[in-house]
């Protein structure tokens, strides 16, 4: 069977999906120390008291991946990354709101 004929079933990572730190590192293929650095810099926020019991929302995967690109490709430091990601998210939220308002005006 051609691979394009096969329909893949994926795992949905919604807001109810919290990932244990081991799973989080495995998904990102990164070292635990790097994740601790991201938390210390305020890039991602864990749930739980100590690193070994931390878990992360699935949305932290997106932020962690974006961090890797900003650090590796642009040489941004982690404090800068946290600020950039917050601004990108805020911009997205505003774009969304603007779309909504423009649609209301069109009607």
């Amino acid at each position: 069977m051609n691979s394009i004929d096969r329909i893949l079933e994926g795992q949905m990572l919604d807001e109810s999906a919290w990932l244990e730190i081991g799973e989080f590192c495995a998904y990102l293929q990164v070292d635990r120390h790097w994740v601790v650095e991201l938390v210390d810099a305020g890039v991602i926020e864990p749930r739980g008291p100590a690193p070994e019991s931390w878990s992360f929302p699935a949305s932290a995967l997106v932020r962690a991946r974006a961090t890797a690109r900003l650090v590796d490709d642009l040489g941004v430091n982690l404090a800068g990354v946290a600020l950039i990601l917050d601004l990108i998210e805020e911009r997205r939220r505003l774009e969304h709101r603007l779309d909504e308002l423009e649609r209301l005006l069109e009607r």
Binding site: I4, M12, L13, R107
Partner: protein
């Protein structure tokens, strides 16, 4: 990765079933569909980030959807039952008598599926019938017989 250590990029197309209730910004993890491991190791996972394209009728926000529903002035005034499109097909909705433009009505549980499912909000938009001698005649009659100043609150 080639034997001499170069990275080869080979695009491929996959058919993926989209789980019901997925919302904007969520991810779908496809185990083993990522890049092959180093030295013949197992492949990583492929993560898809979902972006919901806006729809002509429905606007999704999280699991809630909003639809703007055009209604005739008499449907709003009298509180008629009207057919409303929802994601699961058309449903009948009774408008409250005296409904006004911009009023938002809620159809509980008619949004995107999930635990709990979202709601559908119906935003009322009052539209006038096309201009015709008969419509004009009836509006003239209302003008004469229904005392109403829509700008009374403006205090002018």
């Amino acid at each position: 990765m080639t034997a001499d250590g170069h990275v080869l990029v080979k695009p491929r197309t996959l058919r993926v079933s989209i789980p019901a209730g997925v919302t904007d910004g969520q991810q779908i993890r496809l185990a083993g569909q990522g890049s092959p491991g180093i030295g013949g190791g197992p492949a990583g996972d492929l993560f898809l980030e979902v972006m919901i394209r806006s729809h002509r009728l429905f606007k999704a926000e999280g699991r809630d959807v909003t639809l703007t529903l055009p209604v005739a002035p008499w449907e709003a005034a009298l509180g008629e039952t009207v057919a409303v499109p929802t994601l699961g097909g058309s449903v009948d909705m009774k408008l409250p008598a005296g409904a006004h433009a911009g009023q938002k009505l809620r159809l509980r549980g008619r949004g995107l599926p999930g635990q709990p499912p979202g709601d559908q909000f119906v935003l009322l938009k009052i539209v006038l019938p096309p201009d015709s001698p008969r419509a004009r005649q009836l509006f003239e009659q209302m003008k004469r017989e229904v005392p109403f100043d829509p700008r009374a609150d403006l205090g002018q």
